[in-house]
């Protein structure tokens, strides 16, 4: 090959590389623009906005966080009362029922998919003529210790006729934030809607890239890397802790805390004139755990590092029994989700969160139970 041919081939190689580089940049830009246009068209999120998970909340009393009216994040759209539900009037129309659902992330549902959570599925199961409003008032991380205060501050004022609560019992093996709380003062309902704060600079837009957020949600580290990371994290959490920091067995006082909080919640619901309906907490594992349950139980230790996999599974098993006893003792109606769902692996995406089919099953169970009750009442 001559020198001239060499330089020609080098030049064409450079052109080819530059073309691929420019095309890659176009793909990257189109990704971001596409994500924003998608959010704008389907979710109504402004093109330049930078919504965050934290933006869903406003501070409430005693460390309780309330939903920010009309806030949006991913596929979550809160209504003007700050709930993940369609718009509702302040009180239900005459002759209509209003069923409000309390709980944490299991009830709130997947943020990147709309209308797959069991309250939404129940809404679509109900006959149009039944005139029952379904309101999902749950939020991720809203464990039972917070529920009575949250109920009084954010839910009671909307005149529910029935309140279903799905307590995240496993959180009682964690840090128990929110248990030591002063009496709750009455709270004025949420202030005027606060619009989602728009991003004002290019740097802010880059930092709040929606496509990176989507990729973060849809791409996951391989299981073995996640496991290694979690092992390291648990080891750090356990470092310099006394010997009794780990739960050698199911801690009875935690079960007592749970019952105490739920009794308070039942009283608060009754005080507001609504009927409390308790649900047991289902998990993907069985007790004793099967071999295939181990990884799910271990992954949950990111939230409850003090509990071994065995203790966690046993705690859940005993907690459900305690919930059944509580329902009987307080004369509250019970929907036994755990009895239906425990150990059904394809109904969950991890230890505690339902798959789409799992949500559908729970919705169907609630409908069946309520239909049965209505038939018995007639």
């Amino acid at each position: 090959m001559s020198l001239e041919e060499d330089s020609k081939s080098d030049a064409s190689q450079r052109v080819r590389l530059s073309t691929w580089f420019v095309l890659t940049v176009i793909v990257a830009l189109a990704c971001e623009v596409g994500a924003r246009l998608d959010d704008l068209f389907f979710e109504g999120i402004p093109f330049s906005a930078a919504p965050t998970f934290e933006g869903l909340f406003i501070p409430g009393p005693n460390g309780v966080r309330l939903g920010r009216p009309n806030a949006q994040w991913k596929k979550v759209r809160l209504n003007s009362f700050g709930f993940r539900s369609p718009e509702i009037p302040k009180t239900p129309p005459a002759g209509c029922e209003r069923w409000m659902f309390l709980g944490a992330s299991e009830t709130f549902g997947e943020p990147s998919v709309a209308n797959t959570e069991y309250p939404a599925k129940l809404r679509s199961l109900l006959d149009l003529s039944s005139c029952t409003e379904i309101v999902n008032t749950a939020f991720p991380g809203l464990g039972p210790p917070f529920l009575p205060a949250y109920y009084r501050a954010a839910v009671a004022q909307y005149a529910p006729t029935k309140v279903f609560f799905y307590p995240s019992t496993h959180l009682y093996l964690g840090g128990l934030q929110g248990r030591k709380k002063p009496p709750t003062p009455p709270v004025t309902p949420n202030a005027a809607p606060i619009p989602v704060k728009p991003a004002i600079s290019l740097a802010a837009i880059v930092n709040s890239s929606r496509v990176l957020e989507r990729l973060h949600d849809s791409l996951h580290m391989p299981g073995f890397i996640q496991k290694r990371r979690l092992e390291k994290w648990i080891a750090n959490a356990a470092a310099n802790k006394p010997d009794d920091w780990r739960f050698a067995q199911v801690p009875d006082e935690r079960l007592e805390f749970m019952l105490e909080d739920l009794r308070e919640l039942i009283d608060a619901i009754r005080a507001s004139g609504a009927e409390p309906i308790l649900m047991t907490h289902a998990i993907r594992a069985t007790y004793p755990p099967r071999a295939e349950d181990r990884s799910d139980l271990f992954a949950m230790r990111a939230y409850v590092p003090q509990a071994s996999e065995e203790v966690l599974a046993e705690f859940e098993y005993i907690a459900d029994d305690k919930l059944r006893e509580l329902a009987a003792a307080t004369n509250a109606r019970l929907i036994d989700v755990a009895r239906l769902m425990d150990g059904k692996r394809d109904r969950f995406i991890d230890l505690v969160h339902f798959s789409s089919q799992g949500h559908a099953d729970v919705a169907q169970l609630i409908k069946n139970e309520m239909d049965k009750h209505a038939a018995a009442a007639r």
């Binding site: 073309t19 998608d38 389907f42 496509v211």
Partner: protein, 464 residues
């Protein structure tokens, strides 16, 4: 594994592509295509790889035997035996549950107690497609249309070719034989640009159009009992375009992927909603299936030969079986029968209605096709009946949220389906200019954003 998934786009495809072009000989590439086909298929459920391997082995052996004998009766046996095996496998996995359920229902109607055990068998994905690949190979070999290949790897690469494995197009061996034989001399650069462009075109159809429509279609038709007449029409029009862009998108991606590996996969959709009569519709919709049904069933039944009623009977049988091929449900049988009636009606009346302007004929054909999709989409006959009642009587009901956006998407879908060029028209005389590649890059980028946003759904035709 879905074409519109990250694991396919950023792991499977680059590795498959890079290794393929590092290999030099045709046989090495055949082996590599076979391996990758099985990885692609096994990603869904590795157990069913054995089934595909079994079907491949049976058909390959029969092909080799056909090559070795000229004896008529032996050749017939060598055609009938493997086809029977293929059809039995298909019947067991796809139709056993349906037939036992139907027999139980039928016995119930007659007041008998049949109580046959209904088997809940997992339907191996793509079984209808690769079974047709192998059957067409055996029949063509028997008829002498093709010379069966001696290379096992060439044949297994044909059956397990990932780009056409799970949802077609149904590529007949004769259509790809030349490219498979010459795969060792394929030109990488030539196929890459046009292949990527086809892939991006398919992404546009599937992810941007079909999946956007699905966002509304699925919840609307999920609660069809509540829909008003207008809402029922919007939902069905939405489904009409969703189905087309979903399957056409898959086919365009399959063509693009094939081109990237030096394999030309034929056109499967030619803007079917431009058709002016049912016969034309079937020449434009799922062309590979229509051609297979015509060549291996309709013509075998006698085709157009003989008296008119004979042709009508053959049309009805072909369309009924075509309907049943789509799924083990009476709704598909009715859908096939409906199209059979449309075709018979068209052949019977076409001479008398020649005066109808093309635009009117196109509109009428389109409406008739939309009505047919009601049976295709319905989960059972009662859903089909209720939806049709809603569409053709003024039913009270609701128009669900987002109707404006949904209607806008339906209009866009209609314009694209009717007036914009299809994948093959767009790529006719394709030259990889910067603007064309930039357009593909934009589509690719937007599609990736939507896939990352959990909006990507499986292809509708995977269920068949």
């Amino acid at each position: 594994m879905l074409f519109n998934s990250f694991v396919f786009l950023f792991l499977f495809l680059p590795i498959t592509y890079a290794v393929f072009w590092c290999l030099k000989s045709a046989s090495q590439r055949h082996i590599w295509l076979t391996i990758t086909g099985y990885v692609f298929y096994g990603y869904w459920d590795p157990r069913f790889c054995l089934l595909m391997a079994f079907t491949t082995l049976v058909s390959y052996t029969a092909g080799r035997a056909l090559l070795a004998t000229q004896d008529r009766s032996k050749r017939k046996l060598l055609m009938v035996a493997p086809i029977t095996v293929d059809l039995l496998v298909l019947a067991f996995f796809k139709y056993a549950g349906f037939f036992t359920r139907s027999l139980n229902d039928f016995a119930d109607i007659l007041g008998w107690q049949a109580d046959l055990p209904v088997l809940d068998i997992i339907l191996p994905i793509g079984i209808s497609f690769y079974t047709f690949h192998t059957i067409s190979y055996i029949v063509d070999a028997y008829r002498g249309v093709i010379k069966p290949t001696k290379s096992f790897w060439e044949f297994s690469a044909y059956v397990s070719l990932f780009s056409q494995l799970v949802a077609g197009p149904i590529v007949r061996f004769r259509e790809i034989e030349g490219d498979l034989e010459n795969v060792g001399h394929a030109h990488r650069q030539r196929g890459l640009a046009i292949g990527l462009s086809f892939l991006a075109f398919g992404m546009f159809e599937k992810v941007l159009v079909a999946d956007s429509l699905a966002y509304f279609v699925d919840p609307w038709l999920g609660a069809y009992q509540n829909l008003s007449t207008l809402a029922a029409w919007i939902a069905m029009l939405g489904y009409t375009f969703q189905l087309y862009f979903d399957f056409s998108g898959y086919s365009s991606m399959a063509v693009g992927l094939g081109l990237m590996f030096g394999l030309r996969i034929p056109q499967n959709f030619n803007s079917p909603y431009r058709s002016a009569n049912p016969s034309e519709f079937w020449r434009r919709w799922h062309i590979s299936l229509s051609t297979v049904m015509r060549d291996y069933l309709y013509i075998s039944l006698g085709g157009n030969r003989g008296p008119k009623w004979f042709m009508y009977r053959n049309l009805m049988i072909t369309m009924l079986l075509g309907g049943l091929w789509h799924g083990a449900n009476w709704t598909f049988v009715v859908w096939g029968a409906y199209h059979g009636v449309l075709l018979v009606g068209y052949h019977y009346l076409s001479e008398r209605f020649k005066f109808v302007p093309t635009g009117v004929a196109q509109l009428l054909t389109f409406v008739l096709v939309v009505i047919g999709w009601v049976f295709f989409r319905a989960t059972d006959m009662s859903m089909a009946a209720e939806l049709l009642t809603k569409m053709f009587t003024l039913e009270p009901g609701i128009i669900p949220d987002g109707a404006g956006k949904f209607a806008a998407l339906v209009i866009v879908g209609g314009i694209l389906a009717r007036w914009s060029p299809n994948a093959f028209e767009y790529h006719n005389g394709f030259k990889p200019t910067f603007s064309k590649m930039a357009a593909a890059a934009i589509v690719f980028g937007v599609a990736l954003a939507l896939i990352a946003g959990s909006r990507a759904s499986p292809f509708l035709y995977f269920q068949f």
